[in-house]
Amino acid sequence: MAKIIGSVDELGRPVVRIDVPGHDSLLAVVDTGFNRALMLQHDQAITLGFAFTGLNEYVELGTSSISKVERATGRIEWLGRAIAVDAFVSAEPPATHRPDTARALLGTELLQDCLLLVDFSSRLVEIETQD
């Protein structure tokens, strides 16, 4: 049974570190309101070696507003396996007031067949396969 351990960060968000084969790892916020796999910033997608597909899509934000994003594909290490993953890529400028925090979002598509535990009292996050 594979497991990923993360934490609740100083802003109260559940975050986990995701390894990217051949590249730096990335810190992602576990966003249970995001029903796909991964959301990256534009520069982050380039740095992590994701390939832009030329495809674009509308997404609905938590505010109910609609935004447009690019789509890219890449590979990540996820629960002990290297997997192909498609990412939504935002072309919005990075927030300069908090450049060092987790900028990627991890969505529920990557949590299929998993148990997600967020213990806010002890600031612990666990994602575990349930096969």
Binding site: V29, D31, T32, G33, F34, N35, R36, M39, H42, T53, G54, L55, N56, E57, Y58, V59, E60, L61, G62, T63, S67, K68, V69, E70, R71, T73, A84, V85, D86, F88, V89, S90, A91, E92, P93, P94, A95, L105, G107
Partner: protein, 88 residues
Amino acid sequence: MTVTDLDQARARSNFACEQGEIWVAKKKDHLDALPTGTVVLIDIVTGEYVTGKTFLEASPLFKQRFGPSALGFVHRVRDRTFIGGGIG
């Protein structure tokens, strides 16, 4: 004013989504007949499309059929993408 990569990406995305929406409206009857959740990747120049159960399944078909530099739009049959945390 300098045009940055991000400006270009946003412009490309805006254009592709606007053109894609036009094709979706034109092909509504055909697209609505597809199974719920089908991922439809539309070439915004010709309106031709490829489909798959997932984006990862369909995107290589799109590249193979329309070329590596083709600009496209993703339509999901009776499905939407939510990003609860917002962007930016």
